[in-house]
Structures are given as C-alpha cells and as structure tokens.
Subunit: 404 residues, 2 copies
C-alpha cells in the first residue's frame, strides 16, 4: 500500500483516509437517491513513492492498492486472461484486437474486484456487515468474497435479476433481499439501510474503493500487453463505474510517470439505458426513461457515476455510443463463435459497440492494441442467447439415420 | 515440445508418434464400446531432455507438451487459480487445504485443457473436424476451442445434459447432436462416426492426448504450491480420465527427476456411478448399473478409463470412495459458503469425499498440502443447488417494513 488521501472529484477538497467514508462531506450534502452521485471521492496516492518503488520486472501491484494486504480476503480475484482474437480482429479491420475476459473471476464478473477491496476495507475498519444494491453481479461478488471471511453480506437486488445470479448469492450464504422494483429502488433502499441501521455500504461509486477495485482490470491490461498503453478500450456502461475504474488505472500510471498518455475509453450503452451517452453527447444530464435492455447488468435509470464517467470519456478523448438489444445478442454470438469466450449480454455490449463503430465514420484505424473488456460470464444468463439460437432436437443413437 | 513415443498401458508395446492414433493396434483389437478401453496409449517423453531443460525460475511447460506450439489454438486455457481455504481446512482438521478452481477455464471446466490439445493435434494433422461424445463439459470445451480456429466441432451429447451446457456449445458454433440415450450411447455413436465418416475423435482416453491435456492441471498444482508435491489430491471421478491426467503429471515429473514421490490420488465417485470405485476395491470390473446421479458430468455406466484410473490410484497409494447426491449438494454449498467458489455438483463431489473421509478412520492427518480439484463451474447447472436452497420472496422497497 502507498499512502493516499481522498479528493472530491467535484470541488477538489482533500481529506485524510479516515476523515471521510463515502462522499465529500460538502458536495455530498447535495446528493439524494435519484440523481447521479455528487461528491465522489478519488484516491490520490503519493505518486512519487509509486514511481520510485514500481519495478516492471517484479511488479508489486499493492503499490496501487489503498488497503493494506493484511486485510485482503483470501480469495484469488482478478488476473483474468487477456487473449488476442485475430479472427475477430480481421473481420473488424483491426490488426491487434484483444479480449479481457473478466467473466473468469470467482463469482463470474469484474465486480469481484470491487467487492474484494470494500470487504478488505470493512475488515480494516472492524465492520462485520457489508451492504450492497446490485443488478446482480456486484451482489454475487460481495457474497462470494464475504464467504471467505467473517464479514456478512446483505444484498438488495431487483427481483427480476437472472435466476443464476440469485442462486449464486444465496448459495454463498449472503442475506438476500429481492426488491419489488428497479435497481435504482434497491440502490436507494440500501443507502437508507446503512444510514439508519449500520454496516459498510458497498454501492458502486458511493463507496470510493469500488472504483479502486475495478481499477485493477486496467492495470492488468497494461501489464498483460507488455506495459503498453492500448489505443482504445471498449467498455459496457451502466452506472459508469467500470469505465471510471479503468480510467483511474491509467490516470494513476500517468501520475506515477509510468505512462505518457491515456488509452481512448469508449463507453457503450444499451439504447434504452443511455443516460451517460446522452450526457457525454449533450453536456446535459437526464435519466434513461425506461431501461428495458436484456443486458440486465447495465440496465439503470440514473447512473450513479454519470459525472465521473463523462469526465473519463472526455479526458481520454474517448467517445460513447449506444447499441440495440439485437446488436448486443448478435455480438454475444459473434464473440463466442470467433473467440470461444461466452460473456453475458452486458459483457457483449462492448463488442456490439465496436462492431457498430467499425462500420461508421469514427472507426478505429490505428495499429495499436484495441481491448474489449468482457465484464461478466455468459453462464450468468443462459436464457438470453436462447432468443437467437435453439437447441437441436434429439435423435436416436443410430449412425445410419444421421445426415452429417 | 519434447520428443516422445506412445506406449500401450496394457501390453507395453511402443509406437512412434504417427504410427498410431487412438488405441494400441494390438490391444485395441479387443475393445468395443460398452467395455472399458483396452490399449490406451501413454505419451512417454525423452525425460532426460526435460530434466536438462526445465528451469523452475522460468518454467517452460511446453517441455511437457506433445504438440508443437505453432499448432496451439489461440485461446488462453488453464492457469486457473489455486487458493488456500483455511476456513474450510479448519473445519476438516487440515492445516493446509487448497482448491484448484478449474471452473475458471474459458468454457467453464477442466475439459478445456484436453480439447485444447486435441484440436492442436488436429491442426498438426491437417484434419478439420473434431468429433466428441460428452456429458456436456467436454463438448462445450471442444466447441469453445474450435471457435478460435478453422477446425469444426461435431458433438454427440445426451439429450438430458443441463441446458446451460447445450446453450454454450451451440452458441460457440459447434454442430450439436443431442442423443436419445446415455453418455455411453453417445460415446459409441461418436466412435462409429469417426470410423465410418472421418474426423479426429476426441473421446476421453480414447484419444491419448486427452490425458496429456488434463495433465496440465497437475503440473500447475505442483508449480503453484511452490514446486511442492501435495500430500493428496481429491478428484471427482466419472470416466477416470482427469484422475489419469493428474497422475500422469506427477509421473512425468518423477520420471524427469523433478520430484521424488507421487501425491496420493483420492478418487470420489457418486454412489450410483461407482464402477471405478468397485473396481479399485475388488479388482473385478463391472458396470455401474444405473448411474442416476445429479452430478451429470460424472454420470457414466462404463468408464472409458477404468483400467488406467485403477492403476493410478494403486500406484499413488491413494484410494477411492463414494458419496450420495445429498452429500454432493451439501458439499457444493459448503464450498461456496466457505471459499466463495461455486462449482457444479461433479466438481463438489471431490469435497464431499473429503468431508466423508475426514469423518472416518482413513482421514488425512499429515501437515502437507491437500488439494481439492474443482472441475467445473457452478453456473453450468443452477437448478442443482435449488433442490437445497430457495430464493427469498421479494419485498417492497420500504425500510420500515424490513426486519433485518
């Protein structure tokens, strides 16, 4: 761990580590559920210390971690494969296309990274209950990490979350409360819970270490590319916290003098869950009216990290775009059929965006690495692909009757 | 790659690499579907060459690989986490208990390792079709690996395979033939197919490189333990090929002079799918009469590698035991709730065996590392745990009405 302080991304005020917990005490006053978060705190390290200590030959990633190693839960999280997908790249006119398969985290999504770090923080603080609202993945992740420690997990999740995600979190031993309502309703309820009844709230972006946890995916991409900054990273966007986390990875590396530029961050949203996209395009925020997308993990009316995500896109000279559910499911099949990677609809949204981008005037043309971040496991929701494909009918085990 | 020849595990005859393809031409004459394989071929390397070249500081695992790297499919397979599970270890009276989570392979099971190598071999031979019979996981694995190459996959699978596995293999683009019958029927049909119509047959143990592929899990365990031979490895057993593969890993290491003893291999079968267990106990082989276990991946009447698995257990001074489906599902929940690892019923069978073992006279008492090999992802079959747990009812998002 490297010494750090918190800085409010809205007003710039700084705080020592234990002076604050969630939002900036000043800007956070203006926050209430139903609007994007105000007063999100950013971890600002002693970057000179990182620069001096970091050694590419034997990288110590704990230098970028804001919780001491002694509190880390005993679950191997992250270090997921980054694989080159030349067959897919050729079809998309890209000479160096890669997929970071974060579905291969223990609970099956990138969210394990955030849960890992918040549970570590809870242990440091001696808090034995971590509370979260989630579309499903963050909850499964929290439940999985808590299963390895004495920390308990309390989870608020929309009742319509895919069954596989619900099964996971219950089996891991979490206290699960399916909520009659949306993810946004669950988000508000969980904030109310921790405010009135206690526990550490792990809501995404609300607890600043969720961004730090997700950041590790970006650090790994850099290292796995041989310490090269990719040309672009495509990221599915719901709340905008994974985008913010990946951005923070490269910001930290730049501040530490380890890289000299940021990758372009390309955020892809589902057409009906497009609040951040419109915010980036117009500079004016408004909720997604009716987020009905099949990509449940990025289905959100009011993205908690809308402000941070917009800044990350602009800062990295990136862009955002939207795709339809048909395009998402087509991209899911394309990824599976070309690369052997089965990612859930939300994970495939990034590829759907790349397909759309490459067919239009803003297509990527450089020769540098382009990375698709596949955020969740396809087995989380096997009903989704069944809207496009079908299982062949069974036949008798007689060769003569087979026309193959 | 290190030069190698094939040796028949029954008669000991040796053959050069391209002189044989599946079984020993002599012993294989006596084989027909419906009995355990006769004439299984073992890869015998130039172990002196491995001994000279292997460097623990920079391990080159290709030394243990019987197919040249240029033919390897472009899919990252293996290198799954081995995590220490102290909470679980304490409950079972073991001071150093570990789980190798092979569900975190790309298609969600250890079978990716075998499919990877057989597809590499097909590419070397210039064969563009690989054919397999499978309870589901080997087929998903083959489909995933083929998706990354120009090789096609043709799959025979029992129609009752879990839906998630069927969805995977279809989405990956394989030609899938659900068979009205058992895994054993699918096995026979696939052999008939390749004999009469062509393609490379990937059936487990029938193609000798399936064992070599699965071997890599054992090599990784050794390396991940800091080049230490564990006291014991617990392995769920259906066909007996994963057990055979892990055994081969340590045999190779021993022959190369890199280790001086084998770990005890403990094979765990479902009570109704117990042909190998009875064979080990009595020395007399007979089929499992009615393998109805919920652990579909290890549900088999006539295990293809019965002879090899028995030899591996005896050679390693291991043992076998059986567990009930209730014990399997209990172990699945225990593993999830203590370690955050969600493995399918077949994967949890190994832990069920350890729980049973630790409660009896043969319990493990040493201080050396004990490893549970979790072979497949829990999300492959979310219906299974639902026979023990239930999803709580949904509530209105009103804090006052919650009694938590």
């Amino acid at each position: 761990m490297t010494p750090f302080s918190y800085r409010c991304t809205d007003c710039g005020r700084t705080y020592s580590r234990d002076e604050v917990r969630y939002l900036c005490p000043e800007c956070g006053k203006g926050y209430h559920p139903g609007i994007p978060l105000l007063g999100v705190l950013e971890v600002v390290f002693d970057y000179e210390a990182i620069r001096r200590a970091f050694d590419r030959a034997q990288p110590d990633w704990n230098l970028f971690c804001p919780v001491e190693k002694e509190f880390h839960p005993p679950l191997p999280v992250g270090n997921t494969p980054l694989g080159r997908v030349d067959r897919l790249g050729a079809e998309l006119g890209l000479s160096s296309l890669w997929v970071k398969n974060d579905g291969l985290n223990p609970s099956g999504s990138l969210k394990d990274r955030a849960s890992f770090l918040v549970v570590a923080e809870a242990r440091r603080l001696g808090i034995d209950l971590v509370v979260a609202a989630s579309t499903g993945n963050a909850a499964s992740a929290l439940a999985a990490v808590c299963a390895t420690t004495d920390t308990k997990a309390l989870i608020f999740v929309p009742e319509k979350a895919p069954k596989a995600k619900l099964v996971q979190m219950v089996l891991y031993g979490a206290k699960v409360v399916p909520v009659k309502g949306t993810y946004d309703d669950a988000f508000a309820l969980s904030l109310e819970y921790t405010a009135q009844r206690g526990g550490l709230n792990r809501n995404t972006a609300y607890h600043p270490l969720t961004i730090e946890g997700k950041k590790t995916a970006g650090l790994e991409i850099w290292a796995q590319l041989g310490y090269q900054v990719p040309e672009a990273i495509l990221i599915s966007v719901g709340d905008g916290v994974i985008l913010g986390g990946v951005h923070k990875a490269f910001v930290d590396l730049q501040r530490a003098g380890l890289i000299d530029r940021l990758p372009r961050l390309i955020g892809v949203q589902a057409e009906t869950s497009d609040a951040i996209h419109r915010y980036v395009e117009t500079g004016v925020y408004s909720d997604a009216a009716n987020p009905t997308t099949r990509a449940d993990s990025i289905s959100v009316t009011c993205p908690s990290n809308a402000h941070g995500a917009r800044r990350a896109v602009l800062d990295s000279q990136g862009l955002t775009l939207t795709v339809t559910d048909d395009e998402i499911l087509e991209a899911q099949a394309l990824l599976a059929g070309r690369s052997g990677i089965f990612t859930e609809p939300a994970g495939a949204t990034a590829l759907a965006g790349l397909v759309k981008l490459q067919a239009g005037p803003n297509r990527l043309t450089g020769s540098g690495p382009v990375v698709i971040l596949a955020t969740g496991h396809g087995l989380k929701d096997v009903e989704a692909p069944l809207s496009r494909i079908s299982i062949p009918a069974a036949v008798a085990p007689v060769l003569a009757s087979l026309s193959l």
